[in-house]
Amino acid sequence: MFEIRTRWGRILLQVVVTLLVLPFLFPLVAMVQGSLAGDGWANYEAVLAVPGLWRFFLNTVVIAAGVIVLVYIVTMLAAYGFGKLRIRGREVYFWMLLACLTLPEVVLLTPLFTTAQAFGFFDTYWAVILPIAALQVPFAVLLARNFVQGIPDELFEAARVDGGSVINGFRHLVIPLTRPIAAAILIFTLIGAWNNYLFPLVFLQSPEMQTITLVPQFFVGQFSNDQTKILASAVIIAIPEIIAYLCLQRYFERGLAAGAIK
């Protein structure tokens, strides 16, 4: 964005960014240090040796995948609807959707629980996928609608003049052009689903269904608290998310570089 012509300018830029980033780095360093204290790498071994770890990991992946797919489809449809199509009382529906974001998770527990029982999906993946997705959708729609509105109308009109239908507009315009925001939504939905602790705790009863967010709890006691292993498990849990972010970052940039507005 910024154009730097002089060498000094480039150095200044680098220095400024580095200085700004240091406060973010500092606690991270403290955490990694903490995870290596005491037993050192054995902490990581201990975490990896937690019984059923791979099962937990699998469950988390399944749930995250389910949430992502559901949220992506629903959000893109809704973003197109809210962003470009005509709906009577559109803003009202939008605010209704936004209202779903406002309730704290803890307040949702009991009513969601009754719903899960009523619909019979208690102790299944759906009991976790549906609430998490329901909570992510307003957030995603808010962002995506914004982005869709940023796509110039002329493109859609041009497509229609060429005889395209609404659905084609969706498939050939919205989907490709929203790649950057879709990547962002994907990443945040992944984090929301991956890190979610309360819903799996309450809605998944069987030990085989537990998720990976439960692992740090193995090291917390009523009268004890093994910080080193908790931090080690935090690092391990975070790694897949960071990898996903890196992949998506590249996807971002490819989408941007493709010069969407052509």
Binding site: P27, L77, M96
Partner: protein, 314 residues
């Protein structure tokens, strides 16, 4: 669910020419209701039962389990209006929202701009800024308690820079505890604003930027007059999310300072949790939640109206 809907909907195009009159705009704006239906069914369907439920129990004096809850009508709301802790939470929320929103937005934007430019090892920076977003507060909280302890790293760093006189028990004082909570929040969420701004910047018309540069505009000018207005939509969305987030904020203040000392870091989110779970005043907590919902919608409306003045509903 969604797959069949698309097939079913088929070519739900413009209304048949006979029905829609001759207006150009109508012809070009197809019906969109069924596109938003899945979102509404999923979120509204699932969550609105919860909202209704919460509204009902907000008129009860209930512990969450007793089969015979006491129905007290609006009494919970009246008590809330007279509750000094409640007003404190509102105060904290406002301060928190303003400070964190400004800082996160500024930092996120600056990083997005800087890292869009030619910086070496940009990936490293991007990862560092983003990792905090991924870490669960339950795990980072003890680390921060350690960092801000009287003999913790933060004070050590201050001493290193000769600012030792500023060293104090940051978490043990009402005056500074809130500042720490805000700092940790900014640390955690700047990655979010960064990512969103980064994505939004891609939509800024390159030709505008080039035109500006040809006209001799400096980097700073470009930032203020082109980039900032260009990401207005994202800023607005972030403002709404920040407002709702500030009202709901729970993890960081609860885990680091437990709302203390002396309620100095109590927020509506932590207060609701405290009332609902450990104290089992579920009705009171529900009433607080309804108030939160109303406040959130009002805030979002205000922000939308004030920020969206220039946005034409296309």
């Amino acid at each position: 669910m969604a797959g069949t809907s698309i097939a079913e909907r088929g070519l739900r195009e413009k209304p048949a020419p006979a029905a829609g009159g001759g207006r150009r705009s109508r012809r070009l704006q197809p019906q969109g209701l069924h596109w938003i239906l899945p979102a509404l069914v999923l979120s509204v369907g699932l969550i609105y039962y919860c909202i209704w439920y919460t509204a009902v129990i907000s008129t009860w004096d209930w512990d969450g389990i007793d089969p015979n809850p006491e129905r007290v009508g609006a009494e919970n709301y009246i008590r809330i209006a007279q509750d000094p802790i409640f007003w404190k939470t509102i105060q904290h929320t406002i301060v928190f929202f303003v400070v964190t929103f400004v800082l996160q937005t500024a930092l996120g934007l600056i990083f997005a701009v800087l890292l869009h430019s030619k910086v070496k090892l940009a990936v490293v920076y991007k990862v560092i800024i983003f990792i905090p977003v991924v870490l669960a507060p339950a795990i980072t909280a003890p680390v921060f308690r350690q960092i801000y302890a009287p003999d913790g790293q933060f004070n050590s760093v201050l001493e290193f820079f000769g600012l030792g006189f500023l060293a104090q028990p940051w978490l043990g004082q009402e005056s500074t505890a809130l500042a720490v909570i805000m700092a940790v929040t900014v640390w955690q969420w700047t990655g979010l604003t960064f990512v969103l701004y980064f994505a939004a910047m891609g939509q800024i018309d390159q030709s505008l930027l080039e035109a500006a540069r040809i006209d001799g505009a400096g980097n700073f000018r470009t930032l203020i007059h082109i980039i900032w207005p260009g990401v207005r939509g994202t800023t607005l969305a972030l403002a709404i999310l920040s407002a709702i987030g500030a009202l709901k904020t729970f993890d960081i203040p609860y885990l680091i300072t437990v709302g203390g000392p002396n309620y100095a870091t109590e927020f509506l989110g932590t207060y609701i949790y405290r009332k609902t779970i450990p104290q089992s005043h579920v009705g009171y907590g529900a009433a607080l939640s309804i108030i939160l919902l109303v406040l959130a919608l009002v805030m979002a409306l205000i922000l939308q109206v004030r920020g969206g003045e220039k946005r034409v509903v296309r």
